[in-house]
Amino acid sequence: MSIFADKSTTLIVQGITGRDGSFHTRQMMEYGTRVVGGVTPGKGGQKFENTVPIFNTMADAVMETGANASVIYVPPMFAADAIMEAADAGIELIVAITEGVPQLDMARVFPFVKEKGARLIGPNCPGLITPGKTKIGIIPGRICAPGKVGVVSRSGTLTYEVVYQLTRAGLGQSTCVGIGGDPINGTNFIDCLRAFEEDPNTIAVAMMGEIGGTDEQEAAEFVRRHMSKPVIGFIAGQTAPPGRRMGHAGAIISGSSGTAAEKIAAFQAAGIGVARRPMDFVPLLQKRLKSRRGQSVRRVGRPAIRKTAKRVAKKAKKATVRTRKVAARKAGKVSRNATKLVRKLVKRLRRKSGRKR
């Protein structure tokens, strides 16, 4: 499992014949992404790499291919319109890679996208990747590995740095999402955290924030209230001077608000593990995941499944593999997760009552 995109995602590339668009389309196709079409006005009817049909408009592209996602590589002055065109054509997931989209364009686009019910990721973002399944955007595939850590970040290369370290340490990723460095973006930390919390294949989350705005502070509050999975966080820009835009349009301390110190304090107050350096993610994640395993099985899984699984496990103390499977099926729809849970609970009950196999 994963969030936002998987094998069923079918993709249209907006700006497929451009320099960046064509390069990354090839990369995505190599990775296994189902690129079903592209849009470049005036080049409709042609084919990209002799395989992918090109259309003049998004409306044509969606009608012909039935795609449910799009990725945008068009120049900044046309990006806002491209986003609206995608939303209007009924695309569910729009990933805008383009950097340099004017803020006021985004202010106009945002309510439109919302009304159409689409999810927008970006702009000014590296996109997302569900390792081993699909990638939408520009995250290099070879630094990722399939696994269970969810990654969400406002940055590009900093994300690669951390993901690469996770991969080398054997901590694969469920999905990595770059939400972008602009002040107004379509998807924020909370959207991703919520999705990771609901994703049964994600067991922990690594988040990389930076100075500017209050998105991280609000995310911290969300973690405190709603997350059962461990979260490790990092804030870039501890040495950034106030009032200066640090590369990303959104990375700016305005007045006294949006500092790294303020965000780190919010993380700590919410029980988020704070990575002081990018290389602290691996040990912190390992520690949290380990202590979690030892500490309590009860905290694993969704509350409803947990409850039923516990009840069933009690009955199935003498469980054989078969009864365990039956119990699991009763426990919930997510059978693999529930089977595991029941197995754990049975083990624990056995240990408690001093029984041996």
């Binding site: 290369t157 900093l158 690669y160 002040p183 870039a236 501890q238 990303h248 349009a249």
Partner: protein, 384 residues
């Protein structure tokens, strides 16, 4: 991009906002001539991109034209928050009965422009927000409909009781909003918006920041950029398409990507060093960019060590390596350099560097520690 008060006032005047007459001067003699032309008392105001000009002595009242020349000669050339005053605005003085604050910003949380008004004007609005938040009204504007009349009236009634002043203020709000949208601002402020003893509502000061991303669309606004008011190295970097911010430390940093650049600076600090700059060479790396980056970093005399931190995703690390070799051939380095690169074409990059007498590292943590050690001299000597 910040523009000067006199430039912002020109944009607002074009929309009809009432603003006392005034002109900009670069010499005391010009200031005197303008004051004479305006007649009566004038205010001479330093034109720099810094807040707190008044407190720093950059805003002075002059009753006569002679006094205006004398005041201007003192303000021109003074430094405010590290910036040298090159221009002054000479403007007719207005009598003030009351002061209010009017501003618009693009609000990140609301994802739309938000008006902020307060009857407590003339002072720092952040202070008002912190101490007496009830004195501020915030009103988001849906850009699809613009600022509606009822919204403008509501803002006006929050500032004034007298309906004549409310109408005048509401009109100014509309004009300010139009100017804000036309120029593609991220911030526009009138502080103070004053009421004169005769009951007129006028804007005495104006501040506007234009979203850098809008400048391609507005070449006429790009012309308003005052390069003399910026750090010379930052101007150089912008013209070379690099994002560069000068800082006070001694470890020169060259990184790809803004997030990684910030994280690298933080790590320098973590290990006891001080970053000399923020520098993002961006996504696609041609060797030319690296050459320019090195030129800019080495032009800072306080730099004691140079740190390259490149994570090659789209950026090809061999391009960066070639850039380093070319740049150092043109201008041999006088300070040690630590190069960390990993990712796309890493093997080729390492070979290029080794063949040219550089050592390359792959671990970010170690590289930063080493650069800091060079800069602080704790394990002395250059790398090569």
């Amino acid at each position: 991009m910040n523009i000067h008060e006199y430039q912002a006032k020109a944009l607002l005047r074009a929309e009809g906002v009432p603003i006392p007459a005034g002109e900009v001067a670069t010499t005391p003699q010009q200031a005197e001539a303008i004051a004479r032309q305006l007649g009566g008392a004038v205010v001479v105001k330093a034109q720099v991109h810094a807040g707190g000009r008044g407190k720093a002595g950059g805003v002075k009242l002059a009753k006569t034209a002679d006094e205006a020349r004398e005041v201007a000669s003192r303000i021109l050339g003074m430094t405010i928050k590290g910036l040298t005053v090159q221009k002054v605005l000479v403007t007719a003085a207005a009598d003030i009965a009351s002061e209010a604050y009017v501003g618009i910003i693009v609000d990140r949380a609301a994802k739309t422009p938000v008006f902020m008004v307060s009857p407590a004007g003339g002072i720092d609005i952040e202070e008002v927000a912190a101490k007496t938040p009830e004195k501020i009204l915030k009103l988001p504007v849906d850009t699809r409909y613009g600022l509606t009349s009822f919204q403008a009236n509501r803002l006006g009634f929050f500032l004034f009781d007298d309906v004549r002043k409310v109408r005048a203020a509401a009109k100014i709000m509309q004009q300010l909003y139009t100017a804000f949208m036309k120029a593609g601002c991220s911030l526009a402020e009138i502080n103070p918006l004053v009421v004169t003893p005769s009951g007129d509502v006028v804007a005495l000061d104006a501040k506007m920041s234009i979203d850098d991303n809008e400048l391609d669309r507005h070449p006429e606004l790009e012309k308003l950029r005052d390069e003399t008011a910026e750090e010379p190295s930052e101007v150089l970097a912008r013209n070379a398409n690099l994002t560069f911010i000068k800082l006070d430390g001694n470890v020169g940093c060259c990184v790809n990507g803004a997030g990684l650049a910030m994280a690298t600076m933080d790590l320098v600090k973590f290990y006891g060093g001080e970053p000399a700059n923020f520098l993002d060479i961006g996504g696609s790396s041609n060797p030319e960019k690296v050459v320019n980056a090195l030129k800019i970093i080495t032009s800072d005399p306080s730099v004691r060590a140079i740190l390259f931190n490149i994570f090659g995703g789209i950026t090809r690390t061999d391009d960066v390596a070639n850039g380093i070799v070319t740049a150092t051939r043109q201008n041999p380095l006088k300070v040690p350099i630590v190069i960390r690169l990993t990712g796309t074409n890493e093997e080729i990059a390492v070979k290029i560097l080794k063949d040219n007498g550089f050592s390359a590292m792959t671990d970010m943590d170690e590289a930063v520690q080493r650069a800091v050690a060079f800069a602080t001299g704790s394990n002395g000597g250059p790398a090569e």
